[in-house]
């Protein structure tokens, strides 16, 4: 089964500050029907990778194959639907008209009203596109991506302008769509979104893939928390052996425990060392996780 293949992709942009190596050797193979999250902080190369999958950017090296075809051919055949990261809607059409206009360009589109209902925008079908809120605009852009009934759905940070409720509804629609055997590739910098909605997570930093695996694996990798406390005299080896603790470090009187399960770790720590003081528990967050994974600061590489 030929899905999506990215082989040795590389892309460098020129900028006033010199060349920006946005993507530096990306290899991914996505099976048809798979839902894959491209997870990474800003500037990791996610959008550039997606642009190359869509044929909007030309790789300097490597190649992309979409169901055995070039991105351009896949797009021309109507096999790809995408919600780009940026982009406004054109004005002076109502929502239904705009979706119908896009639908008319595809060989086998979904029913327009069905698509509107799927995206929860049937209530604003008659509203002009220039009079929508940010969240409504995002949902219309989603409808534009879906109406072609694509084999590959590409979503580049789709939930950015949405509120919590909107996000939940959005991902549910995406899941229902994916359940029809469609391939979905989405970019996000929220670990929770990748964890909850993808079959597989590809972790990117500095234009490279740093991890690729099921969400649980990636979550364990980047979802760690650190417990800091003042605790003179405790043995590092004993601390590292506590439940939920991955590693332990000491700086003078202070200790830092990197935890896969900080809840279990703090309970165990306080049982063994009730005298621990100045306790702090902090989530690593993606940025910090990438620093740990790659040994470089993610901010060093520009978008």
């Amino acid at each position: 089964m030929s899905g999506i293949r990215l082989n040795g992709l590389a892309k460098t942009y020129r900028s006033p500050e010199g060349p920006v190596h946005a993507v530096r050797g990306v290899d991914v193979s996505i099976a048809a029907g798979e839902t894959v999250a491209l997870l990474g902080p800003n500037g990791a190369g996610k959008s550039t990778t997606i642009d190359m999958v869509l044929g909007l950017a030309r790789p300097d090296a490597g190649e992309v194959s979409v169901f055995g075809r070039s991105p351009d051919d896949a797009v021309a055949a109507g096999a790809v639907g995408a919600m780009l990261q940026t982009g406004e809607l054109i004005r002076d059409l109502d929502v239904r008209e705009l979706v119908a206009m896009v639908a008319s360009l595809y060989p086998a589109p979904l029913d327009v009203d069905e698509t509107l209902a799927l995206c929860g925008i049937e209530g604003i079908a008659g509203r002009r596109t220039q009079k929508l809120s940010g969240g409504q605009t995002q949902r219309v852009r989603f409808a534009i991506a879906l109406v072609s009934d694509p084999e590959l759905l590409v979503l580049d940070e789709p939930t950015v302008a949405m509120d919590v409720e909107g996000r939940r509804a959005f991902w549910e629609t995406m899941r229902a769509f994916a359940a029809r055997g469609k391939t979905v590739l989405f970019a996000t910098h929220y670990l929770e979104e990748a964890d909850a909605y993808a079959d597989r997570v590809v972790l990117m930093a500095h234009g490279r893939i740093v991890a690729d695996g099921p969400p649980t694996e990636i979550k364990a990798l980047v979802g760690s928390r650190t417990i800091r406390a003042t605790l003179p005299g405790a043995s590092l080896d004993a601390l590292a052996a506590l439940p939920g603790v991955t590693s332990a470090e000491r700086r003078g009187a202070a200790i830092a425990l990197v935890c896969s399960d900080s809840d279990a770790a703090i309970r165990a720590l306080l049982t063994v060392h009730p005298d621990a003081a100045d306790i702090e528990i902090a989530g690593a967050g993606l940025e910090q996780a990438f620093v740990q994974l790659t040994g470089e600061a993610a901010g060093e590489v520009l978008a």
């Binding site: 780009l84 809607l89 054109i90 002076d92 896009v102």
Partner: protein, 244 residues
């Protein structure tokens, strides 16, 4: 498949009221002011022509040219919105996209012309059907270079700069083409004017005034401009939508 696309493109253009009013309203108001104040003049500047007819013809050329070039402003606005990237990832062929832009421009030009013809008729202008048809036909052909120019500028100039670029460009083309006053039949202005597509657009209008049709030089000039500008428009379009 692109018939629906075209229909919605035309609908969008007609719905942008501010745009429509300005683009139809400006030549109309101008006409009513200039020709209205000289309504009784039957022999304008010894030309043997009535003021309402003379100005109607001048403003038809000018209005049709401006309306046609207005497609550039719409293209620039769509580029600003990032819509061209969204269109790129649909199966719409570039040819169909460009055709829709050209036809939208022609729709605007025809509307402008219709409004001015109606205003002229209201002021007592009447023309033999044959002459009116010949003039209208020639103007439609004379608009071809401007259809290409609109697309060229739309893909070249940012939305911030397109206002001044269009305003200045249209004023210059209209001035050198003889929209505002007759180009003398010798000298530098005459030579420069005859090289411009706007000159032949004005000449097309002058058919209604009893002038001669284009002749070989007219057809040649309009043809060359059409080819050159269409080439450049295609280049600008390709460069603008090229993969980077």
């Amino acid at each position: 498949m692109s018939a629906t696309y075209l229909r919605f493109e035309l609908l969008r253009t007609l719905r942008n009221r501010r745009f429509l009013f300005l683009s139809l309203g400006f030549p109309l108001v101008f006409y009513l002011l200039v020709a209205g104040s000289a309504r009784g003049v039957r022999d304008l500047g010894d030309s043997g022509l009535s003021a309402p007819l003379y100005y109607m013809v001048g403003l038809v050329s000018f209005g049709a040219m401006s309306a046609m070039l207005s497609s550039g402003a719409r293209i620039a606005a769509e580029r600003q919105a990032g819509w061209h990237r969204q269109v790129r990832i649909t199966p719409l062929p570039p040819r169909a996209y460009l055709r829709a832009k050209v036809l939208t421009g022609y729709l605007m030009a025809l509307l402008t012309m219709a409004v001015l013809f109606a205003a002229g008729a209201a002021m007592g202008v009447s023309l033999p059907a044959g002459r009116w048809l010949e003039m209208t036909g020639l103007i439609l052909v004379g608009l071809v270079p401007f259809a290409a120019l609109g697309i060229l500028v739309g893909h070249l100039v940012s939305v911030e700069a397109i206002g001044p670029a269009m305003g200045g460009g249209i004023a210059l083309l209209a001035f050198l083409g003889g929209t505002w006053f007759p180009i003398p039949d010798h000298g530098l202005l005459h030579v420069v004017g005859q090289l411009l597509p706007s000159y032949w657009l004005v000449q097309a209008g002058h058919v209604a005034l009893g002038g001669a049709a284009w002749g070989r030089q007219g057809w040649l000039t309009v043809g060359i401009w059409s080819i050159v500008l269409a080439r450049l428009a295609m280049l600008a379009f390709r460069r603008d939508t090229a993969r980077v």
